[in-house]
Amino acid sequence: MASITLKRLTKRFANQTAVAEMDMEIENGKFVAILGPSGCGKTTTMNMIAGLESPTAGTISFNGKDVTAMPATQRGVGFVFQNYAIFTHMTVDQNLGFGLDVRNVPKPERDKKVTDMAAFMALEHRLYQKASGLSVNELQKLAIGRSAIVEPSIFLLDEPLSNLDAAFRERMRSELRLLQRRLKQTMVYVTHDQIEAMGLADKIAVMNLGVLQQYASPQDLYANPANTFVAKFIGAPSMNIISNEIICASGFGAKDLIGFRPENVFFGKPGVGDISFEAQVTFVEAVSGRKIVHLDFKGEEVLAVLGRHVSTTVGQKVTAVVSRTDCRSFDSTTGKAL
């Protein structure tokens, strides 16, 4: 187990900055997700932690020891690639034992570790088959087992669930969490899927265009987004953000952006201090037990999430109400939370 510290980590390519001055501390044994849209720099950050790419500036430390200059072969990092990178020309046994074989671990010890790991991953029946014949699920378990067997201090996973179909993905999510708890590893998990990150991680680092936007627990990210990007990226559907020039709510700056989550919107009479506005229903989506109602408010689209039983019709005029405590304000130029 090891903690990871990134200090002012930067990676520049000829025409762009992939990662800009990232400061982050990942504690021992925690499950941290790096979340962001494609091109945000999350995979580059992970490659630098693994040693597959070298930073232009900044340092990386494991347990306080600077490893920035250390080559990838020596870092003791477990890495699960998005397409698993299984050695398809070898058997499952050879794949699992690879890390031990290159270290010349004596045969009896090596074989025992391999059979143990195979049992742990429920792959014993496939041990002597060629790895190319495995199902996607088995390949993923093999990839994890192959990395885990050499007892790395850190586990890095690059979008490991994106190859699986929706049904499996749910199952694998919980299996991964259980695995992390059992192995007691520090896990860093890269994904673009915020539902996945919110469900799995202890803390999430949200990135966009190479810059770390916010690094906090899922609850914090949901309730107190640091800027409009995080506000819109987290949550499905995402936070409504409207300029105060349109809502004209008191207590906020005239030009500020007001944000509130669709789940906090209800129809009816506003109470004291509540913010309300007149809107018209344009479209209703019925999704697994709740309704996502699209409202038109002075030309802006506002979303509200209501229970199944609330009656709505297209064209209906409603009074939408949000409690003041559920609102967040953002600076209109920088997007930062106020």
Binding site: L52, Q74, G99, R146
Partner: protein
């Protein structure tokens, strides 16, 4: 109901056109394979040579039946040439393979001026072989650049005669072949090496494998097919070698560098034993066809076995 007839009519038209498309190929093949083959069989059973003054179809006038073929077994010079050719191939191909592989591995990581150096290294194999032969003829002259360079470390170098010495001439043609064809091995092996999936190499590195281990455990096993093709190609071409040796030494001194092709040339134009050469040619054809047949049926069997196991 009308679908089926339309489909089959279209199919019929297509097959008709396809058959027409293969006619030129069949004609040319007949021209260069069938007819000459018949002629070759005919001639090989006679003593005919153009010096007889008779046109070839009158060769029956000097039938010799299988005498030419028997001669093949008794001809010490032929077997010496075969042995020499095999020796030549046994030296050249492994060296070209090893050097080509080393070069491919050297190019695996980035090299400064990579594109320029890559193109430069490929140049030798694009040079006309007969002219490459002449180039090395010039280089191996007693007063040539090789001796000039050598004489800076070994004073007596200017006395060394390459092309008139039995062993040194052989070495010279070997060197010329290695120069010309190592780039080909490099080209093919490099392409094979680069097709090894990148992230498998990365995964191996992260599991602690050194560069050498990555090559032996990941890259090599995946390059088996490519390496086989490279070696097979080079082997076949090397056995046929003629141009550079002919230009450099004409097979000499004596017969020191006389490969099978050169021996056949000498028999044809030096000794005018056309019918004998025809017989040898047929023997080679039959032998190679049998070998090729065995190899192909073996690989077809193993491919079928692999398909079953998978």
């Amino acid at each position: 109901m009308t679908e089926a007839p339309v489909q089959t009519e279209l199919k019929r038209q297509q097959i008709k056109m396809a058959n027409w498309f293969t006619v030129p190929s069949h004609v040319l093949l007949a021209f260069i394979v069938i007819f000459p083959l018949i002629m070759q069989v005919y001639i090989s059973l006679t003593w005919w040579t153009p010096m007889d003054g008779e046109p070839w179809y009158n060769a029956y006038m000097s039938f010799s039946w299988f005498d030419n073929y028997i001669e093949i077994f008794r001809d010490a010079d032929l077997w010496a040439a075969i042995w020499r050719t095999l020796l030549f191939v046994a030296i050249c191909v492994p060296i070209e393979f090893a050097l080509g592989l080393l070069l491919a591995m050297a190019f695996y990581e980035k090299v400064p001026l990579q594109n320029v150096l890559y193109s430069v290294i490929l140049i030798p194999m694009m040079v006309v072989p007969a002219i490459a032969g002449y180039t090395f003829y010039l280089i191996f002259q007693q007063t040539g650049p090789l001796n000039i360079l050598l004489s800076s470390v070994y004073p007596g170098a200017m006395e060394i005669n390459w092309l008139n010495n039995v062993t040194r001439a052989f070495a010279a043609v070997v060197i010329a072949d290695i120069w010309q064809w190592t780039p080909l091995m490099f080209l093919i092996l490099y392409a094979g090496l680069m097709s090894v999936p990148d992230d498998q190499m990365k995964a191996a590195a992260l599991l602690g494998a050194s560069g050498w281990q990555r090559f032996t455990k990941i890259a090599f096993p995946r390059m088996k097919a490519v390496m086989t093709i490279a070696v097979a190609l080079r082997l076949i071409e090397c056995l046929k070698i003629f141009d550079p040796i002919f230009v450099m030494t004409k097979g000499g001194p004596g017969v020191a560098t006389q490969s099978v092709s050169l021996y056949l040339y000498k028999q044809t134009f030096g000794d005018n034993n056309w019918s004998y050469v025809a017989a040898i040619g047929l023997a080679i054809l039959i032998l190679l066809s049998v070998i090729a047949g065995i190899i192909l049926s073996r690989s077809a069997k193993s491919a079928a076995a692999q398909a079953k196991a998978a």
